[in-house]
């Protein structure tokens, strides 16, 4: 140290050279998540989660009524163990949603989606803590609830999940594991919980969230069609443009998604245009 003190010029030169050498390559570029750096955030996270939740309502209602409800009348089977090799069936609506959630989780959009209730078929899906408190309010008002989950640093929204089809009511009331057997049409049977890390999103980020949900729908529906392909003992429905209401048919994923978009596009488009 003594020698360095005697040579201040050398010390400064070494420091400058070290700094230059260290900076010669430039740093690692900062990551900008999914949103463009210069793009303006135009939607609050609550608005985006409301949009995607509405798409979910339409998708689930369509699946429950037009596929499960009508499909059962054609002899199609739907089962909680639909993935098992010895079960030749499709996913029940709750598991359809679980499939969408799993697909979203695998993608790059940091969106979380869960389904719970105070009387779930599977006790592991019973709300606890903050969710249980908010669900009591949701049941009374059917209004969504928003909160910030500090432990996970995630913006969280809960939306009522209604008994929108007779199939929901019948299946839940008759299920051997049911904790409640007097469900009626229109009851708040549970709630979907959605999570996202940022408080606001750009237009592009919003579209990515909506697309992630749509992709999830297609993924799980295709998984169902793959299961059908492997059926050995059951009659396979014809996959095409027709729906179970017309006979032993199922729509292709494209036809299914087109129908979802036809029903939901007006609402979603209104919200998107309003934010621009």
């Amino acid at each position: 140290m003594k020698s360095l003190e005697k040579k201040p010029l050398l010390t400064v030169t070494v420091l400058i050279l070290s700094y230059l050498l260290l900076n010669a390559c430039g740093g690692v570029p900062e990551e900008t998540a999914t949103n463009g750096k210069d793009e303006e955030n135009v939607f609050s996270v609550a608005e985006v989660l409301e949009m995607v939740s509405k798409e979910n309502d339409v998708t689930r209602t369509l699946y429950t009524k037009a596929i499960v409800g009508k499909g059962k009348l054609q002899g199609m089977k739907f089962d909680e163990d639909w993935r098992k090799d010895d079960v030749e069936a499709g996913p029940l609506p709750a598991l359809f949603l679980r499939g969408v959630a799993t697909s979203i989780q695998k993608g790059p959009v940091p969106l979380g989606l869960y389904l719970g209730s105070d009387f779930p078929i599977n006790n592991a899906n019973k709300f606890e803590g903050k969710q249980a408190e908010l669900f009591e309010e949701i049941k009374a008002t059917q209004e969504p609830k928003f909160f910030y989950d500090e432990s996970q640093e995630l913006h969280t929204a809960m939306f009522a999940d209604l008994a929108s089809a007779q199939a929901c009511v019948t299946c839940h009331n008759e299920h051997p594991q049911t904790a409640k057997a007097d469900w009626k049409l229109g009851d708040v049977m549970g709630a979907t919980t959605w999570q996202y890390p940022k408080d606001s999103l750009t237009y592009k980020g919003t579209i990515e969230v909506l697309n992630a949900y749509a992709k999830g729908t297609v993924d799980i529906y295709m998984a169902y069609l793959d299961e059908i392909e492997a059926f050995k003992n059951s009659e396979k429905p014809i996959i095409g443009t027709k729906w179970p209401a017309e006979g032993n048919y199922l729509p292709t994923p494209e036809v299914f998604l087109d129908s979802v978009r036809k029903i939901s596009s007006h609402e979603t488009m209104k919200a998107l245009v309003a934010g621009k």
């Binding site: 390559c25 690692v28 990551e31 959630a101 969710q131 995630l154 051997p176 594991q177």
Partner: protein, 236 residues
């Protein structure tokens, strides 16, 4: 050209030998064939053939860039720090090979707020809580009573088991769960209805330690091998 002060000769040779040994070691340990010497320990069951890079991917940028970025972060000139050397290993790395649509307990499900209390006791949002790597085992959590964190209120209608699930929960016989049910639910097998027919805990422990699979070999999905995993990356 380069004169060494006679009084500094010992330091000079010491430094030179140090640099040579350090450089030699660095070069040797950087070789693919030397991975076993760098590894923290033997790989877990089923991971024997994996190379380091399948989990420990190179971090973004070169070493100089990483140094600069982290220095800037320390001085408050940059928002985020960066990985140094290799990227952090996360559950996403594991799911690259082990993601299955029939997973009964996928890690992401436990991110939901209702599992907050349970995950404070056992962090099921990440794989390494139960499957710490470099241990030469299959499952590293012990004892196998983890089901108690979520299934205290378990009731099974028309319970087919001779000692009911409710009775087992009441008696806190949590180790009996795994004697019938594998946690991730990937095995296809017939679950016994008599407690005496369940898989003995000792056999289960051998399996968890990396031994033979008592649930059988009939699995719907299998983890990807390294070449299969590489193919999935090439498709992206």
């Amino acid at each position: 050209m380069f004169k060494v002060n006679p009084l500094r000769k010992r330091q000079f040779w010491g430094a030179l030998i140090g640099i040579l040994i350090g450089g030699g070691l660095f070069s040797f340990l950087s070789l693919d064939s030397s991975e076993q010497y760098v590894s923290l320990g033997p790989m877990n069951s089923g991971h024997d053939g994996l190379s380091c890079v399948s989990c420990h991917a190179d971090a973004n940028g070169n070493l100089s860039q990483q140094l600069q970025s982290n220095l800037e972060h320390t001085l408050g000139m940059r928002k985020n720090s960066v990985d140094f050397g290799t990227k952090d290993v996360t559950a996403q790395n594991c799911l690259g090979c082990h993601d299955r649509p029939n997973d009964r307990h996928p890690t992401y499900r436990f991110s939901e707020p209702r599992f907050k209390q349970a995950t404070q006791t056992i962090n099921t949002t990440t794989c390494i809580t139960c499957h710490a790597e470099h241990t030469d085992k299959r499952v590293t959590i012990n004892p196998v009573d983890y089901c108690m964190n979520c299934h205290q209120d378990l009731e099974v209608e028309d319970d087919p088991v001779d000692v009911t699930h409710m009775a087992l929960v009441a008696q806190e016989q949590w180790s009996t769960c795994i004697q019938c049910h594998d946690f991730h639910g990937n095995h296809t097998y017939t679950v016994p209805e008599k407690l005496q027919d369940t898989i003995p805990l000792k056999t289960i422990q051998v399996y968890l330690d990396g031994g033979e699979d008592p649930f059988g070999t009939n699995k719907k999905y299998r983890g990807l091998s390294e070449p299969e995993w590489i193919k999935t990356l090439q498709k992206k």
